[in-house]
């Protein structure tokens, strides 16, 4: 494998005095899926937002395809156009119908025509069982429906890299299977993904690498089989044991 698609080098971030990320190093290779696991508040969402340049970092570098995107002189818009991100809280645009939520980016940023954008959007909506919701407003969807729309919106973008923040958490099990299939398909089509998740089964199933984040630091990174069966760190073992107790592994 050549140089990684995404490199996070010694990245740190604090909100006011509170350190949320501390010297994080992480590599995501092209076509790989990396899962971020870790307790609530460990910094998973913050890390994803830093990569999308939505939250400025305090130290370190984020490198995409060999280019340091956190350097002065880089246009963050061009960087963001190459990534898709799904937020934990969906953040759909409430004043736009589902279909417009999805086509806004392609139309305004990538200059795709209205019709073409809508066609792509409808195809994707179909895959996620939402075709009949295309002309509905987000506030009138159920939680799971909103989350799926958010995923579609990020995908419509045709990104080189996807950042997914707990995309399966509000989904019912039937849909999880579907979304897993979509993610497997995406992976097969060569999409590089960084996924924050609490679903260990999901991580084990789909990830090439699993990263354990604890209090803003990466404690351990390994292929899922290795990390789940022979964790090196004491803290990781603890975490996994609680999961087993919760009946989730």
């Amino acid at each position: 494998m050549s140089s990684p698609k995404l490199e996070i080098k010694d990245v740190s971030k604090a909100f006011d005095e509170k350190v949320v990320l501390e010297n994080v190093d992480l590599e995501v290779n092209l076509h790989d899926v990396v899962c971020l696991i870790g307790s609530s508040g460990s910094g998973k969402s913050t890390l994803l937002k830093c990569i999308n340049l939505l939250v400025p970092i305090d130290g370190g570098d984020i490198v995409l395809d060999g280019q340091a995107i956190t350097d002065a002189g880089v246009n963050p818009n061009q960087v963001r156009q190459r990534m898709g991100i799904v937020f934990q809280a969906f953040n759909l645009f409430p004043h736009m119908k589902v279909i417009d939520n999805i086509t806004l980016g392609p139309r305004k940023v990538h200059g795709v025509g209205q019709e073409e954008a809508e066609e792509t959007a409808r195809t994707l909506l179909g895959q996620f069982g939402l075709l009949d919701k295309a002309d509905e407003y987000p506030d009138r969807l159920s939680g799971g429906q909103q989350q799926r729309v958010a995923i579609v919106r990020a995908l419509a973008h045709e990104p080189e890299l996807m950042l997914l923040d707990e995309v399966t958490s509000a989904l019912d099990p039937e849909l999880i299977a579907e979304v897993l299939n979509v993610i497997r398909d995406l992976k097969a089509s060569g999409m590089t993904m960084l996924i924050a998740t609490h679903e260990m089964g999901f991580a084990r199933d789909v990830a090439d690498q699993v990263c354990f984040l604890d209090a803003g630091r990466i404690l351990e990174q390994a292929p899922p089989d290795q990390l789940f069966s022979e964790p090196e760190q004491q803290r990781t073992r603890q975490f996994l044991q609680r999961i087993v107790e919760a009946g989730r592994l």
Binding site: F87, F93, P94, D139
Partner: protein, 274 residues
């Protein structure tokens, strides 16, 4: 299709509400009664609410009012557009935009502080007096310009309130799909912002409708000026009531329509609770 029955659970405080409404009506009625039966009422009525003077002054005030309406329409369109540009500039983030933001903030602060009348006098009399080449000397032109300059400062702040009431996560979300700051404002933030402040925008609309009358100091004979002249001529204030009635005939329907429209729009977008 499902038969929809009205919600059946009784809303709390319904009795209190009825009592409040009832007593308001009674109090208002009582005040009216005291006024209408007071000894001096006929004199006051004659001075402020005379049917004769209403009819007499109506044609002149109406003609002047028509000029108001025209000035108003031109001014309002310019104000709504210019103010939006100001508000958007003011909402841009990042140090690069600091000088632009500073210019807009200064503009808004200073203009709001200047009495509209002074601005109208300054532009309407001061600028033409300079006798500059190619600069219009029309009083109407400068009167409307002064209104636009002043109202834009206020309206920009209304827009800004709207923009800031949209949750930060919406901006983040818009940027994440690759929109520029300006695109994010234009397609995501501003449409929500405007919906959020429509009642406040309507305030500006209603009060501009009356403030266009201020150009009368420039000698423009618009509606309120005609009322003024009539009042000075007849010593009767009913002509102002005519002007008020004309204003109401426009502002009330506009307010009712806007409320109805925004409510419909909201219903289409949002879940409604009880």
């Amino acid at each position: 299709m499902w038969p929809r029955l009205p919600p059946r659970a009784r809303e709390e405080g319904s009795r209190a509400a009825l009592i409040a409404a009832g007593s308001t009506i009674i109090v208002v009625g009582l005040i009216l009664w005291i006024i209408l039966t007071s000894e001096a009422w006929p004199a006051v009525q004659k001075q402020f609410f005379s049917w004769f003077h209403f009819k007499e002054s109506f044609p002149d005030v109406l003609r002047g009012f028509w000029l108001d309406v025209k000035m108003f329409i031109v001014a309002e369109i310019l104000i709504l557009s210019f103010a939006l540009v100001l508000a958007m500039i003011r909402s841009l983030r990042g140090p690069a935009f600091f000088p632009l933001r500073a210019i807009v903030v200064t503009y808004i602060d200073i203009i709001r502080g200047i009495p509209m009348l002074l601005l109208i006098l300054l532009l309407g009399f001061g600028v033409p007096a300079l006798q500059l080449q190619g600069v219009p000397t029309s009083r109407l032109f400068w009167g409307v310009a002064a209104l636009v300059i002043s109202y834009s400062a206020y309206t920009a702040e209304v827009y800004r309130a709207g923009i800031e009431s949209v949750h930060e996560s919406q901006r983040m979300s818009a940027r994440s799909i690759g929109l520029t700051q300006v695109q994010a404002l234009r397609f995501v933030i501003v449409p929500q912002a405007i919906r959020n402040v429509i009642p406040a925008l309507l305030n500006g609309f209603v009060s501009l409708q009356k403030d266009v009358a201020l150009v009368f100091v420039l000698g423009v004979r618009e509606g309120l000026r005609e009322a003024d002249i009539y009042n000075a001529r007849t010593f009767n204030y009913t002509s102002y009531v005519v002007a008020a009635v004309l204003f109401l005939l426009i502002s009330v329907p506009v307010a009712r329509f806007t409320d109805w429209y925004t409510e419909r729009d909201r219903r289409r977008r949002q879940a409604m609770s009880t």
